[in-house]
């Protein structure tokens, strides 16, 4: 059993990083993830970790230095948010294309304009196609647990891909919650020694990394990345099983909450899931069969498993804390795709909520469930995509 402490989400991440003790961290401060690297810098300054901290001059350079360090042959971590991730965007693709198992915490925040420092998922969703494994976390405990597991997932021989752990900005990053930390030696044993693959610093066996690849070979390397992603689901489950042994906490590809006999379901990521679960309990008390699905692994997306879990549901409300202007929200598109894999044809509506840190309140969850219930009864949908919690 580890220690139980009341800490902020950022503190939990910094603590996980201290226990992981990566060889190199390169980072640039940005709200709301700044505290992660601030606390970590203090660990470096106090000699509590062996890490070389590279305090770069931008997030673009942060990810560039992370790639260089990872290529050199060691364990590498960083953290960022929003505009920082946007500035890294070019390098995110390069990290995955070069197969660098870098692990990053993304403290989710809205993208400008207008500039806004609060939590939504537009940053993480914008990085959807960058070839990174994405894990999402409801609270600080999950973020801490996910970060430790992400090391194992990213570095797994069958994967060798970068991974990002998402956690809601401010709502989680700056809120204090009571959570359990693993003992340092347990984390150390769980992640194990880093095993470099063809490191750049092996001067006896020089390699060329990052060459120009023309149409004759380019697709083969993309196919390799696809293959690596295909292995992720199994690795996530395998790592989760081992993690449960050391922590007692169980993780899957997603969390299904009161979904077994549900006729109505909400699909939602991260902190809003907690609010929804409370409201679902109230509706269940009134005999309404409603459940929730909270994806944990968003990239690769576990389509078949999600479809299976939602196969008995008649009406699904997918909540997106990110916009795809002119399209459905990104989570809606995934759920719609998932439902195509098993032929079940639920009615699906999409609600855009919580942008720029707008509060998601229990009454919002109740409004969605009421609407799902009405659709189930009438078979009629007023609007497939709508905003929730916005003033007219």
């Amino acid at each position: 059993m580890g220690k139980v402490l009341a800490v902020t989400g950022n503190q939990a991440i910094a603590e996980a990083m201290r226990q992981i003790n990566p060889d190199v961290c390169a980072a640039y401060p940005i709200t709301p993830s700044t505290e992660v690297m601030q606390r970590f810098a203090a660990f470096v300054a106090d000699g509590k970790v062996d890490t070389e901290l590279v305090t770069v001059e931008s997030e673009h350079s942060a990810m560039s230095a992370c790639i260089g360090a990872s290529a050199a042959g060691g364990r590498v971590m960083t953290a960022t948010s929003s505009q920082g991730l946007a500035l890294m965007w070019e390098m995110l693709h390069i990290a995955s294309g070069m197969r660098m198992p870098i692990v990053m915490t993304l403290v989710n925040r809205a993208l400008s304009a207008p500039i806004n420092i609060h939590g939504d998922h537009s940053d993480g969703m914008g990085a959807r196609d960058c070839g990174w494994v994405q894990l999402w976390s409801e609270n600080g405990q999950e973020a801490y647990d996910n970060l430790i597991q992400a090391i194992r997932i990213a570095e797994h021989e069958d994967v060798r891909l970068p991974a990002m752990v998402n956690m809601d900005g401010f709502i989680i990053s700056h809120s204090i919650e009571s959570m359990e930390f693993l003992p340092d030696d347990v984390v150390k044993d769980f992640i194990g020694e880093y095993k470099p693959k063809n490191p750049l610093l092996d001067i006896e066996n020089p390699v060329t990394m990052g060459p120009l690849v023309l149409p004759d070979y380019f697709m083969e390397f993309k196919r390799q990345q696809h293959e690596a992603m295909l292995h992720v689901k199994d690795v996530v489950l395998e790592v989760a099983k081992e993690f449960e042994k050391v922590s007692g906490r169980s993780y899957g590809l997603f969390e299904a909450y009161r979904l077994d006999d549900a006729e109505l379901a909400i699909v939602v990521l991260n902190s809003a899931a907690g609010t929804c679960k409370d409201v679902i309990d109230e509706y269940r008390d009134r005999g309404i069969k409603v459940g929730l699905l909270k994806p944990r692994l968003f990239r690769p997306f576990p389509y078949e498993e999600v479809a299976e879990a939602l196969s008995g549901v008649k009406v699904i409300g997918v909540l997106d804390r990110a916009e795809s202007f002119g399209g459905f929200g990104p989570m809606y598109m995934e759920i719609a795709s998932a439902m195509m894999t098993n032929g079940s044809k639920p009615i699906m509506i999409n609600k855009i909520y919580g942008l720029g840190g707008r509060d998601f309140m229990p009454e919002h969850a109740a409004m969605v469930i009421d609407e799902l219930k009405e659709i189930a009864e009438t078979g009629k949908v007023k609007l497939y995509k709508d905003y929730l919690g916005v003033r007219e």
């Binding site: 990394m209 083969e220 390397f221 293959e227």
Partner: protein
Amino acid sequence: MKGWKELEIGALTKAGSADEYNTGSWRAFRPVWIEENCIQCLFCWIYCPDSAITVKDGKRGEFDYMHCKGCGICAMECPGKKGKKAIVMEEEGK
């Protein structure tokens, strides 16, 4: 050509493998070494962009025509002996 299962992941490339690649076919003009005019200054060697001048024990040998692109820098920089160049450029195929 190799399929995706056989390729090293992430496009990792073998160091120095370009040595096997023929750029000699690019040449329009061919440098010709006239040994009797050569003072072994090795300017041709240090100024060659294509590592195409073979040197053994500090003395130059024949051109590496597999890599020489025929730019003519060696001939231009050759001081020669008594006003006679040790490298001259000749049109290929003549």
